[in-house]
């Protein structure tokens, strides 16, 4: 494990532990806490399997599905526009089926970027819609002091840029070695995302 991957792993686990103290069943923050917990658990399993030489690519697809599902629920509870989309309940099962097809089509030896690109672009757009809603409604007098801002900004930064990494890898048809190299950069984005979510947790009131 190189430095970035290790830092990313530690920050993800630490964030999940810190976030669990902020869990509140009545607050939309619960979806972010569950997201962090899911992230950390899958990260631990992924690394455990990798250390024992067992293929772990399937965990990546499960993670993509869980992350998207939990973040969709978060966006649904904080954004009036997303919450009012009548097809959202229909979209989630369709998305699960689509993901299963992508997993079926993917190789178990290397990550297929399609589901990641799809997830990244979807969450990036949902983040922008949430910000657009806030610009119209202006609910917060100081947006930088709101956990909402940090959670949504982390989604936009992380998923927006991750999509570019995956799109780039797909366009240039990089080999496994190059992909692992640029995946390090993705870990930097992950650390940045964890810092932003941690800031949101710090600003949250139970």
């Amino acid at each position: 494990m190189n430095g970035f991957i290790l830092t990313s792993f530690i920050s993800t686990v630490a964030l999940a532990i810190y976030g669990s103290f902020k869990f509140s069943n009545t607050n939309p923050i619960k979806w972010i806490v569950l997201y962090c917990l899911a992230d950390a658990i899958i990260e631990i399993f992924t690394n455990a399997l990798a250390l024992n030489g067992i293929p772990n690519i399937f965990l990546y697809y499960i993670l993509v599905w869980i992350e998207t599902f939990l973040l969709l629920l978060y966006f649904k509870s904080v954004s009036a526009t997303i919450g009012s989309i009548p097809y959202l309940k229909l979209f989630i099962p369709v998305y699960v089926i689509l993901l299963q097809i992508l997993v079926f089509l993917s190789s178990t030896k290397s990550i297929s970027p399609y589901s990641g690109i799809f997830q990244g672009l979807l969450l990036f757009v949902l983040g922008l819609i949430s910000f657009h809603d806030e610009l119209r409604a202006a609910r917060y007098s100081d947006i930088l002091r709101e956990p909402f801002f940090w959670f949504v900004a982390s989604c936009i930064v992380y998923y927006g840029c991750s999509s570019i990494v995956l799109i780039g890898a797909k366009i240039f048809a990089v080999d496994k070695e190059v992909f692992n190299y640029i995946w390090n950069y993705q870990n930097i984005l992950s650390i940045l995302k964890n810092i932003m979510i941690a800031t949101g947790f710090m600003l949250s009131r139970k």
């Binding site: 910000f131 806030e134 610009l135 202006a138 917060y140 007098s141 100081d142 947006i143 930088l144 801002f149 900004a153 936009i156 930064v157 927006g160 840029c161 570019i164 990494v165 780039g168 890898a169 240039f172 990089v174 190059v178 190299y181 640029i182 950069y185 984005l189």
Partner: protein, 261 residues
């Protein structure tokens, strides 16, 4: 350049753009909040001004009532009282003539009280509607001999509720008073028209010039209580008012448009 460097550079550029977009969103959101606060503050100031204008206007009305009762009615009643005392003291006087004089005085006082009470609270508007009330008002103005007030009514009825009719009456009353007191007008014409769901009222008078800019300026100033009351009532009626001059003449024109909903 290696592929991985290209991808990382590309992602870095996107990251930079995303951060700029987020910063822009924060700046815009703060600007919006600031503008909302300013708007709220201005609305509060405007509300406070209107409330102040209303209270001052009420005080002014009370003062006018007091002055009218003191200067118009009290001397007549006082004279009548003196006459009655004189009858009691001096039995030789011609009682018939003196009593008639006292009766006339008391009748005059009653008439004055009636006029004053009609101006303060136009019962006729409340009971018989705006058109009846405005005719009563015109009769009072015409009885003063100083000004001629003519109504040209092209409507059969005014389909507004009692409160709105009273508001409309107050607006007309204020405009007419202003044109007489401040504009020194000697002739006023009121034209009423109904166009679909819109009631149009036009007041023409030969008083001094008063344009829409003067009206807007008065609304911003500390004075102009009557005009602020007009604006407040027009707002309640969801209508519009325009101060203008009839083309190629010295006749002043006030146009009122009230939606009939």
């Amino acid at each position: 350049m290696k592929i991985e460097v290209v991808i990382i550079l590309l992602t870095s550029v996107v990251l930079f753009v995303v951060i700029i977009v987020i910063a822009f969103i924060v700046i815009q959101q703060r600007r919006f909040i600031r503008l909302e606060k300013e708007k709220l503050f201005l609305e509060k100031v405007q509300e406070a001004r209107l409330a102040e204008a209303m209270i001052k206007s009420q005080e002014l009305e009370r003062k006018i009532i007091g002055e009218n009762l003191h200067e118009e009615v009290a001397p007549i009643l006082y004279l009548s009282l003196m006459d009655l005392n004189a009858f009691m003291d001096n039995k030789d006087l011609n009682l018939g003539t003196k009593l008639q004089f006292t009766i006339n005085n008391i009748s005059s006082a009653i008439s004055k009280i009636r006029d004053i009470s009609h101006l303060i609270h136009p019962v006729s508007v409340e009971t018989f509607g705006f058109l009846h009330g405005i005719e009563d008002f015109s009769a009072i103005i015409n009885s003063s001999q100083g000004c001629k007030f003519v109504i040209e009514n092209k409507t059969d009825s005014i389909p507004l509720d009692a409160f709105k009719q009273l508001m409309l009456f107050r607006v007309i009353q204020e405009i007419v008073y202003n044109s007489i007191i401040h504009g020194k007008s000697r002739k006023i014409d009121l034209v009423l028209k109904k166009d679909g769901n819109q009631l149009s009222l036009f007041i023409y008078h030969n008083g001094s010039k008063f344009m829409n800019e003067d009206y807007l300026k008065s609304l911003q100033s500390n004075g102009g209580l009557g005009l602020k009351n007009i604006q407040h009532r027009i707002g309640l009626l969801q209508g519009q008012i325009l101060f203008d001059t009839v083309e190629n003449s010295d006749i002043q024109k006030v146009s009122l448009n009230i939606p009939l909903i």
